[in-house]
């Protein structure tokens, strides 16, 4: 059995629901999972000592224990796979929009925006973990792409749907192509891969998550107590977590 460590903030909820839920065919019999969560950016209050990620603040220690079933630090060397479910996804379109509008963005500009994304603390933490356990596979998922019921999604669909929106569709397609290209060549560490949600999880434009995945979402930072029906456009449910795990792990 390969051991998988899932690290996240509130978005850990989707993965925790998945691994704590019914058996995942083709996955549950090959992988064991541990989950570690800490709200927002508080996971920065940790340090790596040897092959251990150790909280340096009490609330993070408590959060690790609460989300992992009692473990207060992460033994990085004991895992062969890591899933990082923190901060932004490299496939999130908002940074490439002009307010809420699509517009032409050159390849050099996409790279400049992406470089800024790479400067984020979540990427630094991911790189640090990847360097500590170079034989492990590290999947950077970031937070889910917001659901198709998000306000931004509804604004964008107006620009994309309809007979007169061919130019915007072309802009969107080119942008997605460029995002995929820069994310595929991301220079974090050789064992780190950026994970784009599979197509079947996304609405037809490939920009937002289908709203069925946000129904029944739970946020890890509220102790998994808060359950959303379908009005949380940012957090996803166990089905999302399950589909993402299959997407990442089935080929290993």
């Amino acid at each position: 059995m390969s051991r998988v460590c899932i690290i996240g903030n509130s978005h850990l909820g989707a993965f925790k629901l998945a691994v704590d839920g019914p058996e995942i065919p083709g996955i549950s019999d090959r992988f064991e999972f541990d989950t570690f969560g800490s709200i927002r950016a508080s996971i920065l209050q940790t340090r790596i000592s040897g092959d251990r990620l150790i909280p340096t603040r009490k609330d993070v220690t408590e959060s690790f224990a609460r989300t992992s079933g009692g473990q207060t630090e992460i033994r990085l060397g004991s895992y062969s796979v890591f899933v990082m479910a923190i901060r932004n996804s490299p496939y999130w379109i908002r940074p490439y929009l002009f307010d809420t509008q699509l517009g032409p963005v050159s390849d050099t500009m996409v790279e400049a925006i992406h470089r800024d994304f790479l400067d984020d603390w979540s990427i630094e933490l991911t790189a640090e973990i990847a360097r500590t356990v170079p034989e492990a596979r590290v999947f950077f998922v970031g937070r889910p792409l917001n659901s198709q019921k998000d306000f931004l999604a509804r604004r964008l669909f107006r620009q994309l749907d309809g007979d007169e929106n061919a130019a915007n569709l072309a802009i969107k397609d080119q942008l997605l192509m460029r995002l995929n290209a820069v994310a595929a060549n991301i220079p974090v560490a050789p064992n780190v891969a950026m994970v784009r949600p599979p197509d079947h999880v996304l609405e037809p434009h490939g920009l937002f998550t289908l709203s069925k995945y946000s129904r029944g979402a739970q946020k890890a930072d509220t102790g998994m107590k808060q359950v959303f029906k379908d009005d949380d456009t940012m957090h996803m449910n166990g089905e999302y977590g399950r589909d993402m795990l299959v997407h990442m792990l089935a080929g290993l």
Binding site: F98, P104, V105, S106, T108, M109, A112, I113, D116, I171
Partner: protein, 351 residues
């Protein structure tokens, strides 16, 4: 009855009291506003490099400076200027000549197509009207045209929506496409494109040409708009980096600035809604003994820009914004090169 028509004139009318006896840091009465800037006016800025200072100070002081072509949400502020964002009210880069301004206005308001728009370098494609706004050019000519269409639409919004235009006249010298008469902000071959004397020719505009271009630009704006427009003209005090005339650069610089200054004065006399702000005179004032110029004797130092803007703000009921105020203890006046300036690239061709 007085003995002379000069007898009752104010101190500013005399060189000794108005210039020689005054601190160049605090020239009194050099500028009297023609009209007040209303708090709700949307202000657009454009022009040669020096105009970037004016735009920045105006924003810092709380004026409503238009950003009709904002950057993508995720492009860091530090990188924005590299891509031509946040420098002026749209992503047009420096507009050095009156003809260049007229071309842009006609393209935005009349749909006039530009000839020789696409310049190539090392397999990448550059917008010849603003070659500095994409550091590596565009991937394809088609993509360049998409970006240009987006830009021109934003410029149209800006031109019809603004209440006030601040335009800094920079140069009279330019390079012109022989077939179409299109002019460019840089000589072909400087950033991109290929210098070919059969295709391009040097132009040094006369007073009559600059005046005609500016008048045509103002007419085009007036026709396209349904609300009043106020225009503030300045002349850049930054001398020419190089001249293509067959004589000394100092002569060319003096010619260029003289023509622009004279046109600004003429236009002010002709249009009540147009004012002239003397940034040129404040910086070149002999009493300053060149202190407002950096070591290269071209760039205007931060102290020079502060002095210019202090005069402007004093007339418009405000003060230098704190973040722009001079640091008296730093002793570092900088080199004044905190602006994006394509014509400075000509320095590289110097002997």
């Amino acid at each position: 009855m007085t003995n002379s028509p000069y007898e009752d004139l104010p101190g500013r009318a005399f060189w000794r009291s108005g210039v020689a006896g005054c601190s160049p840091l605090d020239l009194r009465d050099i500028y009297a506003r023609r009209w007040a800037i209303e708090p709700d006016w949307q202000i657009a800025t454009a022009g040669s490099c020096f105009a970037q200072h004016i735009a920045r100070y105006m924003k810092s002081a709380g004026f409503s400076v238009l950003d009709a072509e904002p950057k993508p949400n995720g492009l860091p502020d530090a990188a924005a200027a590299l891509f031509g964002y946040q420098i002026y009210s749209a992503r047009y880069g420096n507009i050095y000549t009156a003809r260049q301004l007229l071309q842009l206005i006609r393209e935005a308001l009349h749909g006039e197509r530009r000839h020789d728009l696409i310049w190539e370098k090392d397999g990448r494609f550059y917008d010849s009207q603003r070659p500095g706004i994409e550091p590596n050019g565009f991937e394809s000519p088609a993509e360049l045209l998409d970006h240009r269409a987006h830009h021109v639409a934003r410029v149209r919004q800006m031109l019809t929506g603004m209440d006030m235009l601040i335009f800094t006249l920079g140069l009279t010298e330019t390079w012109e496409h022989r077939g179409s008469g299109t002019v460019f902000p840089t000589a072909p071959g400087t950033i991109a494109g290929t210098w070919n004397p059969d295709q391009y020719q040097f132009r040094n505009f006369t007073f009559a040409e600059v005046h005609s271009d500016m008048s045509a630009a103002l007419s085009a704006l007036a026709e396209a708009r349904d609300k009043p427009l106020h225009v503030l003209l300045t002349v850049s005090p930054v001398p020419l980096t190089a001249t293509a005339e067959d004589h000394h650069v100092l002569l060319s610089s003096t010619y260029s600035k003289s023509v622009l200054r004279a046109v600004a004065g003429q236009l002010r006399a002709e249009h009540e809604n147009l004012d002239y702000f003397p940034s040129y005179e404040i910086v070149t004032n002999p009493a300053a003994r060149g202190v407002f110029y950096a070591a290269n004797l071209r760039s205007v130092t931060p102290a020079g820009v502060d002095t210019v803007m202090k005069s402007f703000f004093a007339e418009h009921g405000t003060d230098l914004p704190p973040e722009e105020a001079p640091q008296s203890d730093s002793g570092d006046e900088g080199d004044g090169e905190d602006v994006v300036c394509e014509d400075a690239m000509l320095e590289a061709f110097g002997k």
